[in-house]
Structure formats: C-alpha cells, structure tokens
Symmetry: C2
Subunit: 317 residues, 2 copies
C-alpha cells in the first residue's frame, strides 16, 4: 500500500447517487484537491451499497479530519439515518453516519444533496456573504435548499426546503411525487424534453430534431440547450416557456422567505443562464415584496462537483 | 384627570387599521385586561392619523412598560418606520416607533398584523410550545406569519411571511397585488362571496339567497358561513371548493418550511373550522414531507383581539 497523501486539514466530501459514489478531498476554502468515483450498487444488499461507499473513500488514499456525505433522501440529518430512499431501497432505516464513523473514526455528517450544495454555495460559492440563501439545482429534478445565517434550515423533521415540490398549478400535470403542478414537473429537464417532443411531434421545425437524428422520441432537454446555443427559434420558445413558470415559482419563494440571494445550479440552470436577466426583471411582477428587484440571481459556483463540495461543507463549521 | 389604573407590569397593544385604532392592556400571560378603540383618520394628514393613535392610547388611562403596535404595511420592523401603506397613504415613510417613543417614553415595537398575531399565538395561544410556527389569518384577505424558535421570521428586508400571496395557479385569477392565483384571491372572504354569487346567479337554489333577502349582489362570505351552519348544501359545496385550494397551498408551505404546527385565524378560518379534520387528512397528499400527517392544524386562540394581543406580543420577550 502506498503512503496516503497528507491532507490532515482537509474534509472528505462524499456524494452518493443511484449509480455512482463520488468522493473528493476539500480544503478549508472549498477547493477540491483530488477526487474519484466508484459505481454504486443500488439494487443489492445494504452492505454491498455501503462497501461501494467505503471503496470510493479508500480509493482516494488520503487523510481527512471529517467526512460529509450527500445521501439519497428522505433522511434524518440529525442522526444521519437514511430513512426510505426510493433510489436506494436497500438502505431503509440505514444508520449511515454511525457506520461510517465506526469505519473511519472521524466525525460524520449526512444531509441531502440540495441542502448540502446550498451550504457549499454559502460557504465558498455564489452565496458567500449572504444571510438568507435560497438555492435550487435544476436538472433531472429540482432540488432546493435554504440556508439562514450560515446554517441549513431543516425545519421540524428535517424535510424543509423541498422547493422543487412547490406547486404553482394545482390542477396542472401530475408530478411523480403525487402532487400536481410542482415546479419540478413543469420546469426540470424531463419537462423541457417533453415540451420539445410535443412541439416537434406537432410539426414544428427545429435544429433540435437534427441533433436527435430525426428521432422525436430521442429528444431530451440537452438537445434543446444545444439548439438554443446555436440560435434555434423553437429552442428559445421552449426555454422562454420554462422561464414563464420559474418566475411565479421564484415569486412564491421570495414572498415567503424574503431571501437576499437566489442561486441556481444544475444542467438546466446552466442552459437557462442567458435568461437570468429576464427572470430577474420579471420577478418583481410576481412578488409583493417591494424590494424583490434588489435580489441577486446567481449561477451556482459548483457544477458537477456540487455534491462533493456540499458533503464537505457539512463539516466546515 | 382621574388617576390612571395601575398596570405597571402590563404591555400596551395597539392595532392600527384603516378605519379604527384598537388598544388593549395585556398582561404577561397574554390576557387582555382592558381595551378601547377610536376611529382612525386615514385620509387626513400624517399628524391627524398619529393623533388618532395617541387618543386611543390615552383613552385607556393605564400604565404600561412598553407599547407594541400592529401597523399597516409595508413597514420596516427593525426601525418601526411605516413605508408606503396603501390603506394609510398619509403615512409614507412615517417614523411611527420613534414618534410613539417620544410621546410615551417607553420602548416601542412595530410590525404587521399577521406577524404580530403569529407571535401572540406562539407566546400565549394555539402555537404555544411549538418551534416552527406557520400562522394564517383568513378574512377579507389572507395574512400569514412565520415564527421560528419564538422569533418572527422577517427575512432580509422585513417582507418575509407573505404567504397570502403564494400562487397555486399561475394562470389563474388576477389578485389585486398584481400576481395571478394567489391563495388570497382564491380563498379569502371576497372569493367565497364571489363564488356564491356566481352559483346563485347561475340558478343554484340555496338558503344563502334568502339570507341576502333575495339580492344576489348582496351575498357575502358571511351568508355562506351562516347557511352552512344551518345545513345548506350549496354553502357546503362552496366551502369544500375553498378547502380544495387551501390544501395545495398548505402543502407548499409544509414542503418549504416543515412547520410543527399550522394555526389559522380570522373569520373565514372560523367558518372553515368544521373542515379542519378534512384539511389535515388531505394535506399529506399535497406534501412530499413524509411526516406531514403529524402536523397539527389548530384554530387560533385570539379572534377579533388578535391585533391587540399581537402588538403586545412584540414587547413580550
């Protein structure tokens, strides 16, 4: 065995997803010093899934003083117990923090990925210096996190900050969560892809179809983003429609929470970044808050590494 | 001048409305010992409106150690400056706390009525002992307040907790605030009255019309409440439809804030109290929070005196 690299002052950030475990060593300034990943074993035993995590950690062969983990929810951030995750059914009531502590003899924190990423943005990223942070990651789903005075707002049972399931259309399309009109079912990647497929299926002409090699069923939000970047009019229309739902949703968030910054991350947010100025301009029309026009809307600092940075941020007090 | 009554340990609560100023002396347990009211002079000068407030205070002829005031918003709770109230235009940028302090030489706190009432419920009422309180008063409008760990959550600029303007129908009816589909425009008293008038106008038979002496245009939510209490089927239908929008709205609140209690006050909430069990039962269907079924839904303790108690609660640390 080679001598482990010396990073005694660093935190190990772990991002447990349904298909992979990403790990990274993060310094006090939120810089990711090294990282690695291993496949996740989601459909086996609890122990096999746990070994996938320890394999990933061990693969870094690094020193660290604590471990922060983004794990599939729902979970209890106080105890670090994973409760009943749809993406990792073998971990029902799994005491993740306790078992990792037993294996590595360091302090361990566990939270969901959006909460953790919100904290990483507050500590080291786009929300640094802000006190009332609302963070959203928009990709396959929409996860959100609230950070007040530098601490994740968990609410009473640890389930606060589920802004992706705030409904703005109570008679609207059914979300997989069982509610109707959640912003996730209206504005996340799959909704953008579905909107594109519907318009193309109805005969709209667009570069999107060429990118999908003429196969409407193969169209995803990624193709919409690429086509928009290349100047495609239909792609612009689809993204404008996404803005049309994001603005009322952000208005709801602002009127309840009165944040001092809004941060958006994830692949769809990156795709929508050219519309941030428009979103910011339209937001006061969807807020009773008389100072809504002053709230900055920022792109997240962390991209694909948000989970690693988020995990580490949990241990960065 | 008669000798003032001695209540040196009491707080003066003041509730400034568009048409009246209500004042009350409140003890340490939230009991209203005595109260009075004077007409408000809303359309005159700032000074005349201020004198209406001091007249009301002086009319009690009582001793108090501090004054807490519910004032028309928007206002700055930190400084006690009333900013730009639509119901009291003469008080634009009016330093209410400063002027009351100068007149009475006691500490003064100012907040909006829903925030203050939420605090009164937390200190002395239906939310006593809870840490994550969401309060809503449903009447002519819907005002809401959030209390975390015994303190009003104000957000960054003092405009947090405007839950009445959370939209659940972004293409829905226009709210006077300028947004569409706010719960206020869907579920407050005027919406209930309008729904009744529409159904009656379309020919529905109901006791509501008798209560309004056969004049559809005279129908208000109060008649709906009275007819429901007397067993009227159309009134039940109208209130059920109100429940249909309140449940998704409360689901949004729960998924963002994960409160440990929901408290509802105001005349429409009183009318809806027979539906509270149904609302509580349906709420988990509109929440991703796996423990939404455990959240108590309670009627507010304070009724018409909520503003007086709320004002006093501001000074009750």
């Amino acid at each position: 065995m080679t001598e482990p690299a010396k990073h005694g002052g660093a935190i190990l950030g772990v991002d447990i997803g349904g298909t992979k475990v990403a790990v990274g060593l993060v310094d006090r300034e939120g810089k990711i010093l090294m990282q690695g990943r291993k496949p996740m074993v989601a459909n086996g035993t609890a122990e096999a899934a746990f070994e996938a995590v320890t394999d990933a950690i061990d693969s870094l062969a690094a020193n660290f003083h604590s471990i922060g983990i983004c794990a599939p929810g729902p979970l209890d951030p106080k105890t670090g117990v994973v409760l009943n995750p749809p993406n990792l059914p073998c971990w029902r009531n799994f005491p993740l923090a306790e078992k990792i502590t037993a294996a590595y003899h360091v302090p361990v924190k566990v939270d969901n990925d959006a909460n953790a990423a919100a904290l990483a943005e507050t500590r080291w990223g786009a929300a640094r210096g802000f006190r009332y942070v609302f963070y959203a990651t928009i990709g396959t789903g929409i996860g959100t996190g609230i950070v007040f005075d530098g601490c994740i707002y968990h609410g009473n049972t640890g389930s606060a900050g589920e802004g992706g399931h705030v409904s703005i259309d109570y008679r609207g399309p059914l979300c997989p969560c069982g509610k109707r009109g959640c912003i996730e079912v209206l504005a996340a990647g799959p909704a953008i892809g579905a909107r594109a497929r519907a318009k193309l299926g109805a005969g709209s002409k667009s570069m999107i179809l060429d990118l999908a090699r003429g196969d409407v069923t193969a169209v995803t939000s990624e193709f919409v983003g690429k086509a928009y970047a290349a100047g495609d009019a239909l792609a612009r229309e689809i993204l404008e429609e996404t803005v049309d739902v994001l603005v009322p949703w952000l208005g709801n968030i602002v009127d309840l929470l009165d944040p001092d910054v809004l941060v958006m991350g994830g692949g769809v947010a990156a795709m929508l970044q050219p519309f941030f100025a428009e979103i910011k301009n339209r937001l006061p029309g969807w807020c009773v808050n008389p100072r809504a026009n002053e709230i900055p809307l920022r792109m997240a600092y962390y991209g694909a590494d948000a989970g690693i940075a988020g995990g580490a941020a949990l241990c960065s007090e």
